[in-house]
Symmetry: C2
Subunit: 154 residues, 2 copies
């Protein structure tokens, strides 16, 4: 018997909006991620960052992506019948993410359509907007995820 | 006196191609990244992954992005006068990345143009293709980075 999930393709309705997350980005987390994956000076070295155009330490853009993904996992993705993502469009890093910022993700369903090539699977496209504590959009993108369809899931 | 870098905007010539990196993706690294940022079952749980459409553990797509960034940092970005990235277009996760895969990045310079809005800065757009040990492209995207211009860098 197939595992039962809380959310299937049918649960993502175009036009619907939700906000998820609320996570503080610490200086230590910024440096730890960047040391491993993106050790540019303005991500790992406070003094070099002060002298950069950013005037201080900023998070790697990939760190912001990873944090957004985690917030989405915790909000609903781990209870959804996801079968993975084909990709991302129009990702923009609009403002720096700095130590102490508190991030959340505003998700808007842009499109939900069956996939002709994969029976029983539908594609959902979301706009992701990552906002900080001042309601500034620091990052935006359009993400696609494939989900199983409810009526064909058993 | 401004820091001297090895690479400036002028060093990225449209049409030029280079391959960088060569890093093995271990099962432990896949699980460690995903536990922190993308704990979907097919990224963190070997048994659940076996029963998923992927038939086994696969790396989070964000992990592949982070690994590609690290390979680019090690190859030249840490010696380049980068002032950050505005974003990414057309990111596609084309094939699963599995434990034991060895990844490298093929970078093609698509475009290099001065930025009218930022004197002394130029934009470079690269195609990133992440290849595995079988020369399959597992991920591709178009990335933009802003670099200082050499003649105006002092």
């Amino acid at each position: 018997m197939a595992k039962e999930y809380k959310y299937y393709w049918e649960d993502f309705v175009p036009g619907s909006v939700q906000e998820v997350g609320g996570v503080e980005v610490t200086k230590e987390a910024i440096i730890e991620f960047a040391r491993q994956y993106d050790p540019q000076p303005f991500h790992v070295d406070e003094e070099a960052a002060r002298q950069s155009p950013y005037g201080g330490l900023i998070a790697s853009g990939w760190h912001t992506c990873a944090l957004a993904m985690r917030m989405i996992c915790d909000a609903f993705m781990l209870e959804a019948a996801s079968v993975g993502s084909p990709g991302i469009d129009n990702l923009r890093w609009l403002k720096p993410v700095r130590p102490g910022d508190v991030l959340r993700v505003r998700l808007t369903v842009l499109e939900a359509r069956p996939l002709a090539s994969k029976p029983g699977i539908g594609l959902v496209r979301h706009r992701w907007e990552v906002l900080n504590q001042n309601d500034e959009v620091v990052m935006e993108m359009e993400g696609a995820v494939m989900f199983r369809r409810r009526q064909m899931a058993s």
